[in-house]
Symmetry: C2
């Protein structure tokens, strides 16, 4: 892993890195201790490691929970070269949009192809991140839409991830992996999602083998997840990744940081 | 309204009252200002105004959010005389349990009979509570199971209630009222509920006309709502009933109270 730049803003350090040919970023509190919990962020389709929503989420988790947070560009996204096979699938999807076709299975096929490459990349990234001084605690994963479709097989395959927020996805190609997931899951579903059929999302939630899993469904389309779900996800990760992660402790830590 | 006793414990004042023949209780911070938001708690079937879970919930809302909180005994419950018509319905339900029958429509018929009486009682209670010095802000309602089945027609009928946590119920007899509800709703559903079919719960969530409604579904049976949903409901009410109810403000207020 090679660190290519380091900046600090609003109490949050941001290190850009490359690992082999994967560009990534890690955010962490600019001051503090070693051995922090780490939350991995999986961006959506067409987005990248520093998409606006991802940066805001990372800052929130760093400042409110004291986590380290990392993101990488998915194959064919952000600063990475296009992948011919993926580009053909995306072109196919665009053409079907034009023709007004239902897309569920086409997007799912694209996501399966992507996940085959993305899962081992995330695992290699996790190996490298765990070598850093300021990372060392438990690991969480957040990913919705394409980040959710990659997240399901990743969380199923990776025992170091002990809590996950997933969502905005659902397809039979994910069922088998979902059945192997036993860690706590918070699952986001948009009630009027134009890209993921409601029943497919509910079926994926049903498939998780986790003793603790919680479905958060809200009205609106695919991209319309309400802002309060960011707050909820921070609490979910705090509950599961911080040793003293009960609600009172999170509130205290958060309030202290808000005042500083 | 006649106050029959007053005690204080752990910073929470508890006043027992009767209004006509309805026994009730109001909890509030033992020190503080007038014009507090008020949260009404609707207890479950066979329970009463001071059931253990209700008292714990009331203390949480008082201490973390600074709310006043009130509960009354539902018709035929707690300190109230049995209602012959209700008793016959309950006996019928018990017999059908013994025979292993599905119960959805029988419980729903009982709840409809109960709600006919309980809704105007809640409205009269609200009239009286609003006369008290320490109450005067916006009003929320929390009720699950029987408290949810009463809550749906109550929230539909009562414009003073501006946010509601409902759940553990679902039946076509509630659909019409649900369609008239437009205030923010957090809705609890138990994924493996032995008393409420999953599809009936999902259909009730679907029926709410609220622009903001959020479904929280968790694994487990009817009585197995996880403890973290209490935390979530406190945040939901804080967001909607406190003027400065954003997450940061709630965290500060909560942390301050935890330390005091």
């Amino acid at each position: 892993m090679r660190i290519t730049s380091q900046t600090t803003s609003d109490g949050v350090s941001e290190h850009l890195f490359t690992l082999d040919d994967i560009p990534g970023v890690i955010w962490s509190p600019s001051e503090g201790t070693a051995g922090r919990p780490l939350v991995l962020l999986g961006h959506g389709g067409g987005q990248h490691k520093k998409a606006e929503g991802l940066v805001a989420r990372a800052h929130r988790y760093v400042k409110d929970c004291g986590f380290a947070v990392a993101a990488i560009d998915a194959p064919g996204h952000g600063d990475r070269p296009k992948v011919e096979r993926h580009e053909r699938l995306v072109a196919d999807i665009r053409q079907r949009v034009t023709q007004g076709e239902a897309l569920g299975s086409h997007i799912a096929r694209y996501n399966v192809a992507l996940a085959e490459q993305a899962v081992p990349e995330w695992q290699a990234t996790l190996d490298a991140l765990r070598e850093l001084d300021h990372v060392g605690g438990p690991v969480g994963y957040w990913g919705a839409s394409m980040g959710g479709a990659i997240g399901v097989p990743l969380v199923a395959a990776e025992p170091r991830i002990t809590a996950a927020v997933l969502g905005l996805t659902g397809h039979e190609s994910l069922t088998e992996a979902a059945r192997r997931i036993t860690v706590p899951v918070e699952f986001l579903l948009q009630w009027d999602d134009e890209m993921v059929p409601r029943d497919a999302g509910l079926a994926l939630f049903d498939a998780f083998a986790s003793r603790e899993k919680t479905l958060h469904a809200n009205p609106g389309r695919h991209a319309g997840v309400p802002a309060f779900e960011l707050d909820s996800s921070a609490r979910f990760f705090a509950r599961h990744l911080l040793e003293d992660g009960g609600p009172a402790e999170v509130e205290e830590s958060s309030a202290r940081l808000d005042r500083s």
